[in-house]
Amino acid sequence: MSTNSMPTSPHMSVYRWQITMTLSILHRLSGVVLLSAALGLVYWLVALAMGPAAFAQAHWFFSLWIGQALLCLWSLAFFYHLLNGIRHLTWDAGYGFTKRVYRSSGWLVVVSAVALTGAAWIIGWVLAAGGAA
């Protein structure tokens, strides 16, 4: 099938920016980021199965700044994709399709994702400190 006969759309550059277009591409982007989180999960499981040395190496990797940055990115992508996914599911159920609602629900998703990520890390660290003491 030749490629240049395909209809081309949408022409993004002719539209004024609105929140919905950014959140749409962020949903895909966070999905791709979460694919790397799924790789990380399998890496951790394999390391656990391989024994103490491999497990220690995995923990060493996630203690590095790159590992810590990945965990932060994955948690933010998770909460964003979760909340915006729920937004999508409510659309599929037929709700929230007015301009006012899909704009405000978009901003709500952004703010809530950041807040939930922060809260999860704070609560996680507090509980871990409490459990260790």
Binding site: L34, V42, L45, A56, F78, H88, I123
Partner: protein, 128 residues
């Protein structure tokens, strides 16, 4: 030959892919399942985060943890593949290449999910 046809008419002549509804429904159902599974994964992560090797192995010996990991990995890779398939279909321009790339992604998703599930099962059923 197709000079006199509009882009819409060309697109229409490709017709239905015949399995769009199944893909759409599977994506929504796995998304619904991942709401509780994903939230539980975050809680489990903060629980396991500070554990040493022996403690992590002990956690994996809990039957419900193994069941949870199998469900999480399976549904996660299924949903991840469905999403990746949409992205490939949208951004890879050549139809033949779309098929090849999606097939590779499908193999990778199945292989990685199996790797995770088998690793978890090995840990769970190994006695120390």
């Amino acid at each position: 030959m197709s000079d006199l046809r509009t882009p819409l008419s060309i697109a229409r002549s490709w017709g239905s892919g015949h399995n769009g509804t199944r893909h759409w429904m599977a994506q929504r159902l796995t998304a619904l399942a991942l709401i509780p599974l994903g939230l539980a994964a975050v809680i489990l992560f903060f629980w396991v985060m500070h554990l040493g090797y022996a403690q992590a192995v002990a956690v994996m010996h809990e039957p419900w943890v193994l069941l949870f990991v199998v469900l999480l990995v399976g549904v996660m890779y299924w949903h991840g593949f469905l999403g990746l398939q949409m992205i490939i279909e949208d951004y890879v321009p050549n139809h033949g290449r779309v098929f090849i790339v999606i097939t590779l992604a499908r193999f990778a998703a199945v292989a990685l999910a199996l790797l995770g599930v088998i690793s978890a099962a090995l840990v769970a059923f190994r006695s120390f």
